[in-house]
Symmetry: C2
Subunit: 319 residues, 2 copies
């Protein structure tokens, strides 16, 4: 397993700064409020010469230049950059897992308005990266209980939703938020469920491997598969997919979904609607919140083993 705290990841508290006086050199000082821990981060834990769509995390000492980065929300404390004023809140995909850091450009950050009663954790969870994937169609199958936003948005679009997760607790929550069929893939024959409840018009895939092969076997003609991730292979290497001949057999389409690339197009619409609906309870969400930067190692491990109970987020600081 990849993510043993203290071995593959280290919480290092040796470096400190004085937020009042730390030199900015034309940049702005951010205080990190919350951080997101996500399955894709496993892909960054690799040798740097292996190419991938996201850069590898750097390894080795000194720890201070080997900091994990990920989605986060922070507040601007001081600024010498005229694009960003102190007191502003920003969301970004490359937050270092540090309590404070100096950034030099606003590019790559989204400015957020503080919501009267939504916590910032929601902005890296249900109203953050994992929630920005929306689909429409007929019968949808979604893996991973974390895809609760997808279930709710799919139901809103009038889809029949089949959903799987790895614990009875997650399965119960998926039913509560509207999944027509929800099952525990550890105790249920997935192929039997898909054969009975399918064929699948839309598959929202975060798992890959044998689940993807099973979905291909149970795909409808003209099905659309959305590939968001393949956690089944992150630690062990990707298992070969054998049923791709179903692409032409069923005239289906497999599209890679890259939040990094879709964000610029959908950000405005997303932030105009989703936080409000989360705040009113129109959309439901679950979080598994940990407190303190020193917990990141444990949370990374939990996400890779699937023991988190909801979207994994780390609260680094209150304001």
């Amino acid at each position: 397993m990849c993510c043993h705290p203290g071995e593959t990841t280290v919480y290092d508290s040796t470096e400190t700064i004085d937020p009042e006086t730390h030199p900015l050199n034309g940049g702005f000082l951010l205080k990190t409020l919350v951080l997101s821990v996500d399955p894709y981060m496993r892909g960054r834990m690799r040798a740097p010469d292996q190419k991938s769509y996201v850069a590898a995390f750097a390894v080795g000492e000194p720890w201070v230049s080997r900091v994990i980065t990920g989605f986060g929300v922070g507040v601007v404390l001081r600024s010498e950059n005229n694009e960003v004023a102190p007191g502003k809140y920003v969301y970004g995909m490359a937050f270092p897992h540090q309590e404070y850091f100096v950034a030099h450009t606003i590019t790559g950050f989204t400015t957020l308005e503080k919501h009267p009663y939504l916590p910032w954790t929601v902005y890296v969870g249900a109203a953050g990266m994992p929630g920005t994937l929306i689909q429409s169609g007929e019968t949808a199958f979604g893996t991973t209980g974390a895809g609760t936003m997808v279930i709710q948005l799919a139901k809103r679009d009038g889809l029949k939703v089949i959903a799987s997760a790895g614990s009875d607790e997650k399965v119960a929550f998926m039913r509560e938020i509207g999944a027509d069929v929800a099952f525990n893939y550890k105790t249920t024959d997935m192929r039997e469920v898909l054969a009975r409840e399918g064929p699948i018009d839309i598959y929202w895939d975060n798992v890959g491997g044998d689940v993807l092969d099973a979905a291909l076997e149970n795909a409808a003609i003209y099905a659309r598969f959305l590939e968001c991730g393949m956690i089944s292979g992150y630690d062990t290497g990707q298992q070969g997919i054998k049923n791709l001949n179903q692409t032409y057999a069923r005239a289906l389409t497999i599209s890679g979904v890259s939040v990094f690339r879709l964000t610029p197009k959908y950000d405005e619409e997303f932030y105009a609607n989703i936080p409000h609906e989360l705040a009113t309870g129109e959309l439901k969400y679950t979080e598994d919140v940990s407190y303190g930067l020193d917990k990141v190692g444990n949370v990374l491990l939990a996400v890779q083993t699937g023991t988190n109970k909801g979207k994994a987020v780390v609260v680094v600081a209150e304001e």
Copy 2:
């Protein structure tokens, strides 16, 4: 190997009919002129209880009810069906490999006008099923020398075309018709060529297996893969594809192309243009023509082993 003539396929000449008097029972009598032999036919040589996108060929005696079917062109000799008059030419995807047969509906057939100097073989080749796939974009990679129509149409759309085939003769022809880069995959390091000449925006795949994995490794951001077939696995079973994580890494799309399903939409445009351009030499093509229904077994074997020199067609009869 699947296709040994006399073992897995049998040429049976025991049944005869009298075309003048054979009862039609409200149908129409077709004389088969040409038949197409294509890689996908291997997929029909399987146990009937294995599901697939095309029905399995029936096996066993009596041979007369176990006839191979495929794309073909025929002429109507007699008709009791008011949709079809004698003298008409039809193209269809379910021609039995027989010299004559009675059909009961025009559904599934396309009526063709006889061209003043194009032979009917072209209508199951360059102007038939394998030619109806058109794409547009930037850098395209196409496998199988049979995709000569794709190369020419891609060049016409201003693409840079990389093409591979299994013999130097095919490679030379691909260069002649405009491929910018053509290589023999049996003697050249495919990954080296794709890394140097790519990345690939469009991949026209007829092979699957390791070639598909190599194409995924060398795909551009937002690449589009067109899956037309996976001949590498027809005989041995499909090899697992390991690089599907590139779908989300590169935000690429893999679309299954089903000629069976696209034909209704594009038939009219296709037949209005392509035969004329083949006749004038604006588009070039190669055929590997065999004569006589008794050759089908050998041609099937040639297509599966790649020893055919151009689109494999069988002339069954002159009019």
